[in-house]
Symmetry: C2
Subunit: 147 residues, 2 copies
C-alpha cells in the first residue's frame, strides 16, 4: 500500500495535482478489493465504511488511477465500465460465461509476447492490451448436457 500510494502521489505531483484525502481513500479502497469493480460498487463500499467521497470524485479519480498505471479497465459488464488493480498482478485476460455470467481469469504472458512482436513489426508502440474471451464455462456445459 505504501508503494501504491507513493506511486500515485508521484504521478499527481508530476501533474501539479494534489494527493488529497478523497484520493487516498479511493486508492485504499481500490486496493482492498480483489475482484473487478465498477464506479458504483466502489462508491457504495466507500460509503458503507462511512467515509464521504462523492460519486463525482470517484468517477474523476478512476481515470487518474488508470493513467498512473495502478488500475486498468477490465471487461465491460452490463453497460458499465469495470476496473481492477494491476499492481503486482501478473498480466491476465478475462473469460466470461455467456450462460451464467461467471468471470474468470487466465494468464497471458505468452499472448502478450506475441502481440508485442506483431506491434514491433508494424512499428506500433504497444502500451495496453485488453483481452476478453467469452464462451461457456464447464459448470454450464455440464448442466446443459445432463438435461
Amino acid at each position: 500500500m505504501r508503494n501504491q500510494a507513493s506511486i500515485f502521489e508521484a504521478f499527481l505531483d508530476g501533474r501539479g495535482l494534489k494527493f488529497t484525502r478523497a484520493r487516498q481513500l479511493i486508492l485504499e479502497t481500490v486496493f482492498s478489493l480483489h475482484e473487478h469493480f465498477d464506479a458504483e460498487q466502489l462508491y457504495d463500499i466507500i460509503h458503507k465504511v462511512s467515509r464521504d467521497v462523492s460519486r463525482a470524485t470517484v468517477y474523476r479519480t478512476l481515470p487518474l488511477l488508470v493513467e498512473a498505471g495502478l488500475i486498468q479497465k477490465s471487461v465491460r459488464s452490463e453497460a458499465r465500465d469495470t476496473f481492477e488493480h494491476i499492481y503486482g498482478h501478473p498480466r491476465h485476460a478475462h473469460w466470461v460465461c455467456k450462460v451464467c455470467g461467471a468471470v474468470g481469469e487466465t494468464e497471458i504472458q505468452d499472448v502478450l509476447k506475441l502481440l508485442q512482436a506483431k506491434a514491433r513489426a508494424q512499428n506500433f508502440a504497444l502500451e495496453e492490451v485488453s483481452l476478453a474471451v467469452s464462451g461457456v464455462c464447464w459448470k454450464c456445459r455440464n448442466a446443459n448436457e445432463s438435461q
Copy 2:
C-alpha cells in the same frame, strides 16, 4: 451477399422471426461497409440512401446479427459500441493510437490458437474473443520525435 442473407434468414427462421425488408436493408448496408461502424453511423447511412428504417430497428437488429454470427462487437469508441462484419474476414485484432485515434488491424490467428489451448485446459468452451491494443502509431511517434 446471397450467402449472408441466407445465413441470416436461416437464423431468423430458427427462432420464428421474420426476414423483413428493414432487416434486409440493415444487413445489406452493414456488408457494404468496410470499416467499423456504430449504430448511429449505420442509421445515418441508411437514411442518406433515403431508405426508411428507424433508429430503434437498427438497435434491435444489431444484436440479432451478432447472434447470427455475421457481425461482432469491435472496439468501444467514444462511449459507443462499434461493430464490424465477420463474414469472410480472417480473424484480427484492433489497435488504436492514443494520440491521433487512428484504428488499424493485425492478424491474430496464432493468438487465437494459443487462447483456444488455454481455454481447453480450463475446460472452457471458447466462443468469442475480443482483443484491443492501444499505444502510439508510427506517425505520431515520428511527429513527436521531430519536435
